[in-house]
Symmetry: C2
Subunit: 363 residues, 2 copies
């Protein structure tokens, strides 16, 4: 490990708690596994509460007179209805309507936004546009390190620590908590379908203290350290930038129509391309694939989805589902074959063929 | 590992050759270590020849009528003298003169460039600027995977395989080789001070064949698989984006004055900021630190460099040098203390204090 791959304010704590490996997202460490198996973590997440170091969800802060104009230019989603205190999932695209990222937007004030990003340097894209356009806006990465508390017991745990006003925060809204005389943003959000919160901790020096506070009180709720769980994510139909979508994909292929403004009411980069694609209709779209009767290994290169000799898609994430007793995967699927129930074959690493069917996620 | 962290055309081969770990650069795998120690690799690299998978040096292709205008806008280095067939090291900066990347520019034609990048999404910065400016230019990542052949026997090995015309390619120039009826770019360049070449292989499907060809003929030259060697890199004073420099640093702090145009002969982003910094004079600059009599461990967070209680810098990369029998490190050092021979203390991980001195790299 070098400094280039940044540690987080929580890295020392997760090391003490026995983290077994890291991935790298946005040039920063993301814990990948702890002592227990991914399957045990999956069941635990569905029943109790977990604490995740998701500092790698870096914030791109956009602030200034042209902030809202810049953010709108980057996304096909109309952000004019976004209220202060609201989170909004916004696909970001380029001039060809290729996906560049799919962050969560936080509106802190009318001229002040955070983009909580997936794995690509959105800051550089925003800077480039702002410089090119001559916008009056400042773009930076604040000293903020999201900590996720996920699982059905999250609300009970956090309201015990920070107060019952948390219960009033509805999904994809944010409020504030006090921690050691600082005011911190907390949103009802997170990369799971089990409910929970994300604390956007400002101030790296507070990291270990915040973790420890939640960890200590969390003991009575059977808290465990965790990380985004691959089984839960795929079953829940949560897509991952870099896996299910890249710059080769447009938002309509990812099923994001409802976030795409396809008339001319707003101006954004890639609008003409996206309208053209919409008019023609997408030729492929993301689907779930339920396949095989034995656990597959890790999908590190796309696995072709086939009907006979014809390749009709490629699985980009897959894992064994202990609940469904089959593998669950996510794949682009050609238009002619994307109906639920379509029978397919999955070719794993050019070796093993598994039988499966098309499913509309969530599984 | 997930698809998000991309394998390269050579990954399967390095796995067969016993790679012991990977790092991640530009969302892609970079081998970090093989069977032998970093010290054995160091001595081998200085004497023989190594083959490195540096596919993670992604190419950002800029092509079209405004290509040269866009590239010039991104760097303070005057590129007007760059010839077709030439490589040029160009720092890329933002509006505050903060470093965004430090790629090698390859000029393929007057309207056609590749930026062979360090670890940040330069493609997004370039796209943002081009879109903002309305430039007539296309920006993409081509199907190109650099393979480095480094060490004193590189030229002998490669000219035996691809022909003696390679000997005519001078430092930071590129030419062409034929491989399986394809024409491939080869440059005399690479991330070591031991001489060598980089083949910019176009066509992922050719990767294993190219490696195998070089590997087979390389046996008589005692070829080994390798990767950028930390000892050789630090001793040689080769800086690494994300380690020695980030957006917090300007090119003058990194000693890149000779690549910075500080008058108004060219127009580039950050020019006013850089001129202002130059006029005032930099307050800190990169230096080498030779310290300690016992091997240090990995520097994964910066180590303060101190004189008494005062912190005058921070080491961002460090390793034991078997040749110098001391640790070698790279650090920003405050102006008042940056003269060669200045005695300092290095505080490793808030624990151990080692005595050292300031050195002008290369060591």
């Amino acid at each position: 490990m070098s400094r280039r791959i940044r540690r987080t304010p929580y890295t020392s704590v997760v090391e003490k708690l026995g983290v077994k490996g890291f991935s790298v997202v946005n040039h920063m460490l993301l814990p990948k596994a702890f002592q227990s198996s991914i399957e045990d973590d999956y069941w635990h997440l569905k029943e109790h509460v977990q604490i995740w170091d998701v500092s790698c969800q870096r914030q791109v802060e956009v602030v200034g007179p042209d902030a809202s104009r810049l953010v709108q230019l980057m996304t096909p989603r109309n952000i004019s209805s976004c209220q202060v205190g609201q989170c909004m999932y916004i696909p970001i695209i380029d001039n060809n309507a290729g996906l560049i990222n799919d962050p969560v937007l936080l509106k802190l004030a009318d001229d002040h936004f955070w983009l909580s990003i997936a794995d690509s340097d959105v800051l550089l894209y925003a800077k480039g546009i702002a410089i090119g356009k001559g916008y009056d806006v400042s773009i930076d990465e604040p000293d903020v390190y999201p900590l996720a508390i996920q699982g059905p017991k999250s609300e009970k745990l956090l309201s015990k620590i920070f107060g019952s006003h948390l219960r009033e925060i509805s999904f994809f809204k944010f409020g504030y908590i006090d921690f050691l005389n600082t005011r911190q943003i907390i949103a009802r959000s997170g990369y799971s379908r089990q409910g929970g919160f994300e604390i956007y901790l400002k101030g790296a020096h507070l990291g270990e203290k915040l973790w420890q506070k939640i960890w200590n009180i969390g003991q009575e709720f059977n808290i465990k350290p965790g990380c985004p769980n691959l089984i839960e994510r795929i079953e829940g139909g949560l897509f991952s930038y870099g896996n299910e979508m890249t710059r080769e994909n447009n938002p309509l292929e990812i099923g994001l129509e409802k976030y795409c403004t396809l008339d001319d009411t707003i101006n954004y980069i890639g609008r003409d391309s996206l309208k053209k694609i919409a008019k023609k209709g997408v030729q492929r779209q993301i689907r779930g694939i339920l396949f095989g009767k034995n656990p597959c290994h890790t999908c590190s290169t796309p696995w072709p989805v086939k009907i006979g000799d014809e390749t009709i898609g490629a699985i980009t994430s897959a894992v064994w589902s202990p609940r469904l007793k089959a593998n669950v995967g996510l794949s682009m699927i050609d238009k002619n074959y994307w109906d639920e129930g379509q029978c397919v074959n999955v070719l794993l690493d050019n070796k093993e063929l598994m039988f499966g069917e098309v499913v509309n996620p969530p599984f």
